[in-house]
Symmetry: D2
Subunit: 264 residues, 4 copies
Amino acid sequence: MADDRLVIAGREFGSRLIMGTGGAPSLEVLEQALRISGTELTTVAMRRVNPAARGSVLEVLQRNGIDVLPNTAGCFTAGEAVLTARLAREALGTDWVKLEVVADERTLLPDPVELLDAAETLVDDGFTVLPYTNDDPVLARKLEDVGCAAVMPLGSPIGSGLGIRNPHNFQLIVEQAGVPVILDAGAGTASDAALAMELGCAAVMLATAVTRAQEPALMAEAMRKAVEAGRLAHRAGRIPRRFHAEASSPMSGRAQFDPEAPAF
Amino acid sequence: MADDRLVIAGREFGSRLIMGTGGAPSLEVLEQALRISGTELTTVAMRRVNPAARGSVLEVLQRNGIDVLPNTAGCFTAGEAVLTARLAREALGTDWVKLEVVADERTLLPDPVELLDAAETLVDDGFTVLPYTNDDPVLARKLEDVGCAAVMPLGSPIGSGLGIRNPHNFQLIVEQAGVPVILDAGAGTASDAALAMELGCAAVMLATAVTRAQEPALMAEAMRKAVEAGRLAHRAGRIPRRFHAEASSPMSGRAQFDPEAPAF
Amino acid sequence: MADDRLVIAGREFGSRLIMGTGGAPSLEVLEQALRISGTELTTVAMRRVNPAARGSVLEVLQRNGIDVLPNTAGCFTAGEAVLTARLAREALGTDWVKLEVVADERTLLPDPVELLDAAETLVDDGFTVLPYTNDDPVLARKLEDVGCAAVMPLGSPIGSGLGIRNPHNFQLIVEQAGVPVILDAGAGTASDAALAMELGCAAVMLATAVTRAQEPALMAEAMRKAVEAGRLAHRAGRIPRRFHAEASSPMSGRAQFDPEAPAF
Amino acid sequence: MADDRLVIAGREFGSRLIMGTGGAPSLEVLEQALRISGTELTTVAMRRVNPAARGSVLEVLQRNGIDVLPNTAGCFTAGEAVLTARLAREALGTDWVKLEVVADERTLLPDPVELLDAAETLVDDGFTVLPYTNDDPVLARKLEDVGCAAVMPLGSPIGSGLGIRNPHNFQLIVEQAGVPVILDAGAGTASDAALAMELGCAAVMLATAVTRAQEPALMAEAMRKAVEAGRLAHRAGRIPRRFHAEASSPMSGRAQFDPEAPAF
């Protein structure tokens, strides 16, 4: 597996699980979950963080060697998102940004127009932009066309745990994409993460599925293994689906069983 | 995880993946896949095996420390299955049997009447019986009632790769079962195996999903991790499914981002 | 459509919707729903009916020209069901019986062993037997083999409203059946009924989906039309499913639009 | 049903099935299908029509009293679509337009940015705009906000026959919409149309599901009934989905069956 690394904008990662930090009951629980998950890249909501605060999530990431990926959660317009990204760059010294521009607080769904506008501006401004988008193949292509380094379609609404509602759209997005496709939002359990990888996603992003599980540490391990399992299955080339059964060996010409033979 | 072992009829297993041996292109490929899968229990079709033959699948299992679980594949009546089980016990020195009594060669679906009849006979005869059954909760309970050590419902027809067609029936079977429920037949890829475990299965049995994948070794590793992931997720207690989005942190009362703060 | 009649055991019906009578809030509501549904055959639970009672459901059926199909609801053994069928024949003067032998009160799922036993006995006794069965293709074939006039697989548990949980099994049952396949149990709304017919069912049986809907009369009409729609769609031969889009007309060679042309 | 009419922009329709004209093997077949479908509103691709031509689809609509709804199929930019709509208005004397702005010929998916731009322009220009959109609830709301008279989300790509890939999104769109939501694209068979209506759609738009069925006349009738059935079911208020079975009558306290009673 050493040669199967995730590459985004030329940067390599050994783990294909990107974690978020929201929803954890405590910093201790969060730290344990992050460690177990094996993640190497974790989002932090800039609008909820004071980089100077002691005992902050940033310290947790730093001491565990996890790269921080600032996001623009809580932004409703391109302008807000661009401003937030710039503040994050200044404060955190990274020009990577997970771009979120949501339409409203109730659905937390991306605003396609504002998102595309912000993405274009930030790319022009030298950012490495990873946009949280809906599962529309056309918008995914537009985001790639303006220079985004990945596209991060939602499987279902943030925090819903409904998994990938429309696998068909994920297949359409993956087959046309020239950048990594990363499931963002919707994964509720391990099989959701595995399915995303089998559909051709390059990575999975999730937060509350782990942080709000009854046992976050167990779910962090589950998600790590599920992402690896799904990636391996994708590479392995699965058997075709068949309408009818197929015996694993021909039923005719069965060798005779010899009851006289000694047991091995 | 050391304390989360699979227990069937008082016997413990560290792996929850039970492999079959059918469908492999060669013994070498099979051996590699079995090793990588981590399986500790593997079925062998008695009607296709000569225990005395050198270079046989039995030798492969023996030198890898994998227990053999003889099955009665190819039997269409209770009588045939009982006879085959007895011959296997004599030849292989085990009273465990994976009981298969199929209705016809085309569907390879279990014959519920013959299956129940054979199960009862074999239990009375001192066997530890693991029956391959359909996904009918009533038949599963009857099999448990006559003394089977586990029930092994199919997700979909053998070799179809269609996954678990009726998760609802699996939930009904699991909630009433006092013995381990093991997915048998239908798994095509990693997410199928993970889902089975999330639904409460104690283990997953599969063969062609691995042996006939384009890269059996990769799929063996995928399945090992998927089973582990699904088990962990089941134990972790997943987040509930919600119709609407839910932010990982309250959107109101967001802390102010301070651009003057030094980067950590 | 005059030539597309449902035929069971040589008897013809213009409607492919078979109704049950359970669950209605009143006889008046039931009568209205039955009329609107257009049903020509309706089940009555013999264990809940006194054929001599005035104002009974039997009177409702009689005055609306609907044939009565006694069922053996509430029977848990073959013996009970056979006795109930014989009493029904004597009381109602019909040798048709909808055979139900359930395993327990909680799941109301059919007991496959008792069901098959009862079916064989009743066929030998001259009954026209329509058995309520699970969705196992093997049991469906066995029921046909012992002489049942139709097979009535469940889509999901009685009263659950979960629709057809396993369409694949219905396809397997239909492709092998020489008698009518009738969806029994599980339909919750119109699209469930339409889907059953599209899968090749000859008819749909339901009760509570109508009698316990908020507006039984509206749902009765919905179900009548849904069954007709599904049957027509099945006969019409649907378009194939395609992974990609397909324009309804070639995109190239589009005729020029002439803005000078007069409006028609 | 007389009081359950479809209302779009103040105009009433007795039928909730909107037909397209593409894909028919001949004008004769199309005319028969349109008649049987009961449609009162039918789209015509302006770029494929010469309104002055004799024997045209426009004549078919005219002599059957079906209103024409020009569409902008084949347009890839807002500018093209606006121009086409204006030409249609001039030629056909209607300011209604089904607005289509697709991103490319391969997917035929809507371009969200160009679509919104064109919608705004046309509304400002006095058109009654019915936009073909993806199933994104945010874009649906934006289209309503700029003044569209309805929103027409796709169930799946045009001509794919894959039905409604993401019912959850349809529920989200319907619950927030103040204008009629009309399924556009993806319906392949009757149950797809019924499901759309059950999810709360006000109407269903389709073309090739009928025109390219093996028997277009039968499928036209199927779709007419399916739309009516789904609408009735939506109004009727379906039974809730239950995980477990529920008997249609209490199993306890069953009335005794009296074999002495005379048959009715």
